[in-house]
């Protein structure tokens, strides 16, 4: 039974069943912790409102973080890489042909030299 869930890689093994069981146990633990929480907590009152240094809470739609604002730090940290790589993606069909012919030439040289 357990073997049917086991993937042998030749150098090790992986069993999906154990993962599913571990995941289920983690969910159950989470549910137990959640269910032991404060039952009198009233979600509709002021106690649940965020404190924004005394400012009024903006509408929910206005605080949704859009995709353009995500991973700003990542793209900024790699800005040098992106400055290098983006210019290759010109959208110009002539450049597409050039890349194709360039690879053809490089592969030809490699295969001829190292055949």
């Amino acid at each position: 039974m357990i073997e049917s869930f086991t993937l042998t890689t030749g150098f090790g093994a992986w069993n999906a069943l154990f993962w599913v069981i571990a995941f289920a146990i983690a969910l159950i633990i989470g549910w137990i912790i959640w269910s032991r929480g404060e039952k009198t907590y009233d979600t509709g009152k002021e106690s649940t409102a965020p404190f924004l240094s005394g400012n009024a809470e903006p509408d929910k739609e206005e605080v949704h973080i859009r995709a353009g604002n995500l991973y700003w730090g990542y793209t900024d940290a790699l800005s040098g890489y992106y400055r290098f790589i983006r210019p290759f993606h010109t959208g110009n069909l002539s450049d597409y042909f050039l890349a194709y012919l360039l690879v053809t030439a490089i592969v030809l040289v490699l295969v001829v030299i190292l055949k």
């Binding site: 992986w14 069943l17 973080i65 995709a67 353009g68 959208g91």
Partner: protein
């Protein structure tokens, strides 16, 4: 019944071709009849594909010749041992690919019937879609180089027309033009390669050419033409530029099948390296060329995906990145063949990982493109900056997206993890740096899809999408089929490897077996 079973390889192509040409006629009788016709045709061709595949896996390679009632007539006594007629050679590698096309083909057709409902020009759309399916089946099943070129052209032209089908202020037309122009250049160079081999070996049959291969200068030039054309068609970096353009602008169901079309080119690339030139070219050189293309595709694909704000363009770059994994696995498998110590253990495992990833990618990437199509269908935009909070109203789409996203990121227990595990472990033993790059790319993939998930489904309901509804049922069923397979292949990976992947990997390296199946079996 026997006559149908004996002619299944022919029906695999004949049914979608017949379906394509009759679709405009059925359209005259109304949308419902046309939809039923297209769905029946796709279901029948998928059924044929699955039956052929399971027959091959059960009884061995099928060599099917068009126009003769007995396979013994394929090589006439006075032909000097050269097979004539068009021959389909279906071994476990072809079966593996046919299963992918059969499953995905049915799901995208079912999805399209609903997603195209409100649009005009559906007769032409479904005609082209069936032609694309027929072209892909032909590329996978044929054992003849010129025949492969013909099917490559059918799939390229149908694919380009479908990319440009919704003109979209000219952007889609431009994307279709780019796809068509690059495919034409690739196809022409491929045809020159076929001509070079035909001039020397007097045959177009892959098995005959593989048997007679001398590795002359012309053979090497032909190999390079084949290699670059097929690597471009599968979207390997740095020939990937057409991929984000075309995948973004094509209707989502078409994009899901363009992924399979690219994988058919990937299959042909492997067939050329392992079978057509098997044992002649230095496997270490060719293997490392494939590995380098794979690493470039993985890394540049994922890093270009992360900053994208168009969900389909982002997914298209991920398709490039995932193609890199397949190239890496199979490249390591090929390179390891040159080393007797590595070939059986590391090489075969890498090969299995690469092939398994082809199947997994078709399922989860197809699923992801279909979820993106649902978003377009309901919200009318692909722009992630304008989306949000859709999880409140589109729970099933969100669940399907999560399954696809976790699978592509290689998170257990989904299918992407199983194939990536095989690639990681075998690649690590071959060259640890390659395995590290592959794992880093997986982490970046997860990061990218977390962004997409948050942008589309999380957050409060946005005013413009307050009343957005869940996808129609046919679209949900199509996505559901793919999602179930993604989960099942992840929970029972060993069964898939034993039944589908291992026979395909063994058949791919056994080029003598391929040759003897055609020449010895005739």
């Amino acid at each position: 019944m026997d006559i149908i079973l004996d002619n299944l390889p022919g029906l695999l192509i004949a049914i979608p071709l017949l379906g394509a040409f009759l679709t405009p006629i059925f359209s005259r009788a109304g949308d419902n009849l046309r939809n039923a016709w297209v769905l029946v045709i796709t279901a029948l061709s998928s059924l044929c594909g699955l039956l052929v595949a399971f027959r091959v896996l059960d009884a061995g390679t099928i060599v099917y010749a068009f126009g003769v009632d007995a396979i013994s007539h394929v090589i006439p006594p006075d032909s000097g041992g050269v097979p004539i007629r068009i021959i389909f050679t279906i071994d476990p590698v072809n079966s593996f690919m046919i299963i992918i096309a059969a499953i995905t083909g049915f799901c995208i057709t079912l999805y399209s019937i609903s997603s195209m409902e409100k649009l005009s020009g559906k007769d032409g759309f479904f005609t082209l879609l069936l032609l694309l399916i027929a072209g892909v089946y032909g590329m996978i099943a044929t054992g003849d180089l010129f025949n492969f070129f013909v099917f490559l052209e059918i799939s390229s032209l149908a694919g380009a027309a479908l990319v440009a089908y919704r003109i979209d202020k000219g952007v889609a037309a431009e994307a279709g033009l780019k796809y068509a122009a690059l495919s034409t250049l690739g196809g022409m160079l491929f045809l020159v390669g076929v001509g070079l081999l035909y001039a020397q070996y007097n045959s177009l049959n892959m098995a005959v050419i593989a048997d007679r291969m001398q590795l002359t200068g012309l053979d090497i030039i032909a190999f390079v033409f084949f290699f670059s054309a097929l690597a471009m068609k599968c979207g390997a970096v740095p020939m990937h530029f057409w991929t984000p353009d075309s995948y973004t602008m094509a209707p989502s169901a078409v994009t899901a099948f363009l992924v399979v079309s690219s994988q058919a080119s990937l299959y042909a690339l492997f067939r050329v390296c392992f079978t057509l030139y098997g044992g002649q070219l230095n496997p270490l050189t060719v293997g490392w060329v494939i590995i380098i293309l794979g690493v470039l595709s993985m890394f540049i694909g994922v890093t270009m995906a992360i900053p994208q704000r168009d969900v389909k363009r982002l997914m298209a770059y991920h398709a490039v990145s995932q193609t890199g994994y397949m190239l890496l696995g199979v490249g390591v498998g090929l390179a390891a063949l040159s080393n007797s110590c590595l070939s059986q253990g590391v090489g075969m495992m890498a090969l299995k990982g690469g092939l398994f990833h082809i199947m997994n990618h078709a399922l989860y990437k197809g699923l992801l493109f279909l979820t993106a199509g649902v978003i377009m269908y309901r919200c009318g935009t692909r722009n992630l900056n304008r989306l949000g909070g859709l999880g409140h109203n589109m729970k099933w789409t969100m669940i399907f997206f999560m399954i696809g996203a976790l699978a592509i990121a290689g998170i257990p227990p989904f299918n992407g993890f199983a194939s990536k595990l095989l690639i990681y472990e075998s690649t690590f033993l071959f060259n640890p740096l390659l395995a590290v790059i592959a794992m880093v790319v997986s982490i970046l993939t997860l990061a990218s899809f977390v962004k997409v998930f948050h942008s589309m489904f999380m957050g409060p309901k946005l005013p413009e999408y307050q009343d957005v509804r869940e996808a129609p049922k046919p679209m949900l069923i199509a996505m559901g089929i793919l999602a179930i397979l993604v989960v099942l292949f992840g929970i029972f990976p060993q069964q898939v490897v034993d039944f589908l992947v291992a026979p395909a990997a063994s058949a791919l390296v056994d080029y003598h077996g391929y040759i003897s199946a055609v020449l010895g079996g005739a």
